[in-house]
Subunit: 293 residues, 2 copies
């Protein structure tokens, strides 16, 4: 399996040849003879089983295959050149990212090692807060926000939507878990003011409304902890309760779920001085989220 890749010199020769549309000029640039370029290109063509150039008079014009290939080659060479030019200088970048507590602990934290590995030159500083960080004021360099989207003055992409479903501790009420929506009315509904029960109750066909009293917590993770102690039934998002469901700390109640009308968004400002790092973070987040869509 070793080196099924052509040598670098070959790639550089190919790239220069495409750029100049001429072997001799490419050879001049690389301080070689035209013969070297010719050998390189024919070696490449033989290896791929494809013609990469066609003669047009005394110009060498790349074929379709050649044009497709040279893009990747150029990107790779550029990456290497930049990588080696910068090697030695440590150009660490620090990004302050505002994140909601629940998402930070249950979703982001376990994935951070992966980020650190893929982007060792970016130090993330998680600014965990319940409120909304004002990016314009410099509260943070970027943020993950929860809501309907459409914030003014910032760039934004939706990271993930979710489903809402009720969960509680398996030993809640001595194990006599509610089996119907009506029974659920006798339970303590744990509430998060940002995640109302209304849409779910409506979808489940409940004839009663969300109670105005009882335990309230503004943080979803803590709300789940409360549910796990047997305090009541919480309306949970999949992202957060996945681990708890698997470990048996929590169980689903009834099998009705509704799409969460709110989503998580990554937001940033286009004029940020370290926009490159922010884009890398954005793309990484989108990758993490890809399976979920």
């Amino acid at each position: 399996m070793p080196t099924r890749l052509p040598p670098l010199a070959t790639l550089q020769a190919f790239e220069a040849a495409v750029r100049h549309q001429s072997y001799t000029r490419a050879a001049q640039e690389l301080a070689l003879t035209h013969g070297a370029i010719s050998h390189h290109v024919s070696a490449l063509e033989e290896r791929l089983g494809l013609r990469l150039f066609e003669r047009d008079g005394n110009r060498m014009v790349p074929t379709e295959h050649g044009r497709l290939l040279v893009v990747k080659v150029r990107q790779a060479l550029g990456l290497l050149e930049r990588g080696f030019a910068r090697a030695g200088r440590d150009e660490h970048v620090s990004l302050a990212v505002s994140v909601l507590p629940a998402l930070a602990s249950r979703w982001l934290a376990p994935r951070l090692p992966n980020f650190a590995e893929q982007h060792p030159d970016i130090d993330l500083c998680l600014d965990v807060r319940s409120g909304v960080a004002d990016l314009a004021a410099g509260d943070a360099d970027a943020a993950i926000r929860y809501g309907p989207g459409g914030w003014p003055d910032v760039q934004q992409v939706r990271l993930m939507g979710d489903e809402l479903l009720p969960v509680c501790a398996p030993h809640y009420r001595g194990g006599r878990l509610p089996a119907s929506v009506a029974e659920l009315g006798d339970c303590t509904l744990l509430r998060n003011p940002w995640v109302p029960w209304e849409p779910w109750l409506h979808a489940a066909g409940a004839e009663w409304r969300e109670p105005k009293r009882g335990p309230v917590c503004t943080d979803s993770a803590v709300l789940l902890d409360m549910a796990a102690t047997g305090l009541g039934v919480a309306l949970a998002r999949r992202v957060f309760d996945d681990g708890d469901l698997r470990s048996g700390r929590l169980v689903r109640v009834l099998d009705i779920s509704v799409p969460d009308p709110s989503s998580y968004f990554f937001v940033w400002r286009a004029d940020h001085p370290q926009i490159d790092a922010i884009h890398l973070l954005r793309d990484w987040l989108l990758e993490q989220v890809l399976p979920t869509t």
Copy 2:
């Protein structure tokens, strides 16, 4: 100039060594001896003047520099491997992009050759229309929209904001161009229903309001053509009149400009089957726009 890059075999050896944290295992993977790996790594270290590995017992653990470097190397190698694996198969992708007429002709069209060169595997199909394409209905794969942002159910990034400033033909009114806001009141104001004069008039301190009569055109490019014929004064966006101003076909009137409250946005759907190509298009658009911010 030539090959200031280390040979590919060296990079592969380095990468494998980082991955295995062991020269001998890296050597096994590449079907080489440990000596080869050792030589490769020390050649790299000497070339860079940096230590890339440190011994930890009988493990070789990469230094900070090593970890930073290996990221670029991995990306580059990955790019090449994928590039060469796919070479030959033509995996062309076609994207239908809905664009407003003015933007398509004055801004996007002249940049398309650049896109074609950078992404020869993506065929753009410009769906030029004045209305809003419904991405969910499959009207297009992505779109560039003009407005305040915050559309539901789509991903979006702001491409560019702009300034609004009045322009007219240099020979308008026989060359007696309006020199004050009051004088502008005697001129014919060409109107685009999507780009009201109000904010500009307000900023300029006009004591009169936008006329309800006179020429109207829903397309900014055509509106500028109308102004160029001497029909009246148009409220133009920089993106569009730049060329006209340089060529002298149009001149600025008064030197007051206001930020355009609307912007151009690139919008797409995260669940699109060709999301990779869409991301490439998005990133390319953002690059085009970078100087403008």
